[in-house]
Symmetry: C2
Subunit: 307 residues, 2 copies
DNA sequence: TATGATCCATACGGTTTTCGTATGAATGGA
DNA sequence: TCCATTCATACGAAAACCGTATGGATCATA
């Protein structure tokens, strides 16, 4: 029997919660949907949906099958897109995860162009800075700032993020400004806990690299949290230039240690490793790599060529 | 239209090179096969096969589609196996990669039991010691000795491999036996180039770990090569106990430095990371983990619990 | 509580599709 | 040169499919 049509139908039924709605969507009759689901259940030997007239709920089997079916349908779509008249025309839904601040400032504004170029592709956007659970959440592609250490993921470096050591005027009035990285040891430093480097800050001085073990009484796993903490004068922090330059321009925070450049962070594309990378992932990865290339199409590229 | 049947048919056609053969195999008529392929080509808008009456050759598109189709069919199969009457019954073909020596001695003898337990599953066995290209080769699951460092792969430790420092009597007559790891520096040491540790050998002595930088004039990426080199007296080597104990028992090689245990190597299962690990991979992984567990069903487990 | 609306399952008849047999064209080997 | 084999196509029968109509059940609302 044909499995694809019932599988497609089932996926939509789970997502809409209604046979009738799916029938309308597919320009067919409700009994057709009903029959497809029934045939699917008979074929699998399992009840997939709990019918209660007013509400359709997937059973435990139904939820499991839904996940597998989505995956299988995507694989079939990839096969169709691999050759012939649909070659190179990515379709389906791309689940993209981007850092909160960087994403808002630099990625989201560019997505319109991407969507226009690939009309058969949709984007489901997840914003977050964490490395964990990309696979678990079914993320197809992620942008991450910092060293990628996850096993099971492939990283492709697309640029470098400059950082600045910054503090608010109120903090500097109270505690003075450090005149060297070493002086940070006696300052309140705000740690961003997502970076592997943790409580050690690295700088490039004129005479080579400098590492400082910092201390402080405030740490957070949110990049926006770091910025807010700096703004209200909680301490000194290293913040990507793109995320803080506005505040600097307005005089709300000051740049410190101008002779010492904090070690730049890599900007990477991260995706689950597969033998056949889905077309849609490749399309988005290439798009982003080109957008953020040093001489790419972006007017004000936030990154600099890798170093 | 139904795509699955044509895709299945196409895969078999590529593999057998004949419409007629596939028709017999599927208990149907040759025109049915012919029509399915034609419909598939029409749907994709690409010619998949070059027909020359006596020989069917996949076109470039055909080869590409074949790869994608196999993947998609496997995903569909996984969906079917996830629920209902076929739940937990892995099917299809599992591509397994195992180390040459370890595999021959300890894995292959156990596969019969595995195949008996899962009658709908076939195994395609690749023997090799390298970490590279597991994804490229389409390996579903690999056993590896040593530290797994590949990005894009998930490693699951299932045991530990003891090693012995060994040399042939002929070599020992010529060069004497080292009385401590440090003495190895002035011996001909045979390096196994696949280990990340390279030219540094690690031992556990009574007073803690010892590391020795070794030198030598023979290195190889083949574990059998190391063993042969030892046998013919080329030098001293660290060899897994399971691979050399026979030779030791027959007196063909001698164990050195009995007071210093070479640091054991991890024995790991390695597979590409995915959200939904295929049932067949899970089945094999669990089987192997149980077989090689310290108190597992194997009569003479070659491994010891992790340390 | 009663009524109406909505939703899913099932029966039925007509249409479409599918499939196997028979046949033709082409190629490679004897 | 002839024969055997292979894939493509035509045709008629059989099967599958689909939409309409209908029934049973539940929830919202009066």
């Amino acid at each position: 029997m044909d499995l694809l049509a019932p599988m497609r139908t089932f996926v939509r039924v789970v997502e809409t919660g209604s046979f009738t709605a799916v029938a309308r969507e597919a320009s067919t009759s409700q009994p057709t949907i009903s029959r497809q689901i029934a045939a699917l259940e008979a074929h699998l030997g399992a009840r997939l949906l709990t019918r209660s007239t007013r509400a359709l709920t997937p059973t435990q089997d139904g939820r499991a099958f839904y996940e597998h079916a989505r995956r299988a349908l995507e694989a079939v779509g990839e096969a169709e897109n691999a050759v012939g008249r649909r070659r190179g025309r990515p379709s389906g839904t791309l689940k993209l995860s981007i850092p909160v601040v960087f994403g808002r400032l630099h990625v989201v504004p560019r997505l319109g162009r991407f969507l226009a170029r690939y009309p058969e592709l949709s984007i489901e956007l997840a914003m977050g800075d964490g490395f964990a659970d990309l696979v678990e959440q079914g993320i197809d592609l992620a942008i991450r700032v910092g060293v990628v250490q996850d096993q099971g993921l492939v990283a492709r470096r697309i640029g470098t993020v400059r950082r600045l050591a910054v503090a608010a005027p109120s903090y500097l009035r109270r505690r003075g400004a450090p005149d060297s990285p070493a002086a940070l040891a006696s300052h309140d430093c705000i740690a961003y806990t997502r970076l592997a480097t943790g409580n050690r800050w690295h700088f490039q001085g004129r005479d080579g690299p400098i590492a400082v073990d910092i201390t402080g009484r405030f740490a957070t796993d949110s990049s926006e949290g770091v910025r807010e903490a700096v703004r209200v004068g909680l301490g000194v922090a290293l913040i990507p230039a793109f995320a803080i330059s506005d505040e600097v321009r307005r005089g709300r925070v000051r740049v410190l240690l101008r002779d010492y450049e904090p070690t730049p962070l890599p900007l990477s594309l991260v995706y689950p490793s597969r033998r056949l990378v889905p077309l849609k992932v490749r399309a988005m990865a290439d798009f982003l790599a080109r957008e953020f290339a040093p001489d790419g199409p972006g007017k004000a590229p936030p990154t600099e060529s890798g170093g």
